[in-house]
Symmetry: none
Subunit: 197 residues, 4 copies
DNA sequence: CCTTAATCGAGACGGTACGTCGTGTCTTTAT
DNA sequence: ATAAAGACACGACGTACCGTCTCGATTAAGG
């Protein structure tokens, strides 16, 4: 019946993670089970248990496997506004994808700090560092009076955006993005104020 | 064996919700089951199902029952800064309580808009409206140049605080609160700018 | 909403039994529940429990109510053969009706002798006595050499017929009836033998 | 706690059927539940459902397991009378055992022809074929004028006996057996008539 | 005629069992 | 060695009825 030979090693593992992702997309996070993934991958649960002991571990691995490359490079559009829009847009797309697929992952974090760390590193990336870079460049161009901002000032626009993403699981639309950039980020960062004022 | 008479109505319902809260505290949200709550309440699952069709519904009711009094009244400390600190502190305490007890509730929201709405109304309260009131009063006192702020401007500090709460499930400490008030909220709302500038 | 007045006494009781019979016909004995009967009768289970404590009691009452009149009169067709055919046909119709509707009643008898007695009296009637009467008449006519038969001899044809009815829950067809009459009953009863032989 | 290793295969199946039989004896057929049998066998209902989809299936298997040896061989006592007594005695013992243990099985037959067939084969055996064999031998010995009997003639004594068994769930006593043999079976089969008459 | 007693109708309570699904462990067979 | 298959023991699910109970609404009957 199975015309192909028995899978092993990397080939098998890839197939397992693709099966997990497929199940995740089809039925949603709360309905992901070892049973269903094993059926999708045409293997037995034992094979899955040997690799990932719990459902969150499996789902996380599937997410990482499916979308590994988080943009860690700062965009450069020539203006602070354009750069911020680019960063926020990317973050919005990435996070809404993840949250729509696996909202329940969030609730697993408290009991599993390693999971949180992995998600942060692999998926969310580090927009804060990137934004600091944008601000440095903008200050160098004279767009901003200073690049020295309090941590809370720097991250507040990002956090506000992320909160909306977490709550809605939907990407932000253009109006939202414009508001955050124009009404929150740029004013906070000091755009429009004279350098030295 | 059962020394008391059969419980009914409000008495029973209170006992159920206390049992649910007790189980929630003991085993944590992901392990809350109808079975365990029924056992804790010394009743049958049927009685629970008649009232709350799903675990999130039950947990939410337990949370609301356990900590019902959401401050819906705007504080009045005499200064905008004091008012904002009060609002944020209350929100921080309230949300961190809820999230520590039932982090998984968050992941239920997308599939259950009614749940989200209930949480918003019963637990989160409506900080946005309250903050608008604070701002109106501050503008009337001359602390702010205007009370007309964009929606995103108004909620950004709140959202930033809430994001941190959601991620950490811990109340914000004084330093965090000071930063959000002094570095984010007050600058955004225009404090320190001359009225008419 | 309920346009009619509230039912009581005999009117109500009749309605309950008709509802029970209706449910019995529709879903079969093993699926008869107080719940379903109460719904069918548009009343509450309490009203049923007040009258019949168990399902068999209720079903039996419904059966008796629905088909109360067991023929207790011996037919008189002029020949023993015709009389036996008539008795067996009647028994076959009656029993197969009952058994098709409520086969499980049989299994309730051991734990409930009163039930068995009621069924026997109300439903099965007493074919044995009737057959004895037929035989007496036949002997008087000279069709049989004697009317003095052993109990087992007398009832064997009836019992054989009843066994088939119990097993098949179907009425006996003409061929079966002919065989029992011609091959079993008449030879056993001595028809064809000379009186005095 | 569980001192022994996990049971599997035949060992487990035997234990399950013994547990089922034990429950059947203790509480009676109408009270046999998967739950109780699983508890008695110290296993889970799943294991039972994998093997027997319904209660009647399970009970029947338990009955067959508990009393497997149905005499399918015709006795040979030298006389037709002795042979018939032996067959009827065996049938009486066997059937009354079964019916006393599980009277409700009877009511399951119409909805489950396979069950009926299994019971017939496994438990009731096939007395009809056996009796035909006895008659053949008796005719060969000259005890009977002919071995060619109508089907109804052949089975009537058996059916009469079975009907009494079904109704009483008690084994027939010697008097009953004598009557059936001497007053019903032997006369019907033609014993005492001259061959060729 | 009006009060009183009965009982109807409705529905909750505490409980048992159902049949299903998924879990994590373990054993067996075969590649 | 490990993939694949599948059983085992367990826990929980959501549903259906059970038998009991309380409670208001309605009805029939008696003072």
């Amino acid at each position: 019946m199975p015309p192909e030979t028995r899978r092993r090693g990397q080939v098998l593992e890839d197939a397992l993670l693709e099966a997990a992702w497929s199940v995740l997309e089809r039925v949603g996070y709360p309905a992901v089970t070892f049973e269903a993934v094993a059926a999708e991958a045409a293997t037995s649960r034992t094979v899955l248990y040997r690799r990932w002991p719990t459902v969150p571990d499996l789902v996380l691995a599937a997410v990482v496997h499916h979308a590994p490359a988080s943009a860690t490079v700062a965009p450069d559009t020539g203006t602070l506004r354009g750069d911020l829009r680019a960063v926020l847009t990317h973050m919005s797309d990435r996070l809404s994808d993840l949250l729509a697929a696996a909202p329940g992952l969030l609730s697993e974090f408290p009991g599993n700090p390693a999971l949180l760390e992995t998600v942060r590193a692999e998926v969310f990336g580090s927009p804060t560092a990137i934004v600091q870079e944008l601000i440095d460049r903008a200050a160098a161009r004279g767009e901003l009076p200073t690049a020295e901002l309090a941590a809370a000032t720097l991250t507040a626009p990002l956090d506000a955006a992320r909160y909306q993403l977490v709550m809605t699981k939907q990407p932000l639309d253009d109006v939202d993005l414009d508001e955050i950039v124009d009404q929150v980020a740029l004013p906070l960062y000091g755009a429009g104020r004279r350098a030295g004022s």
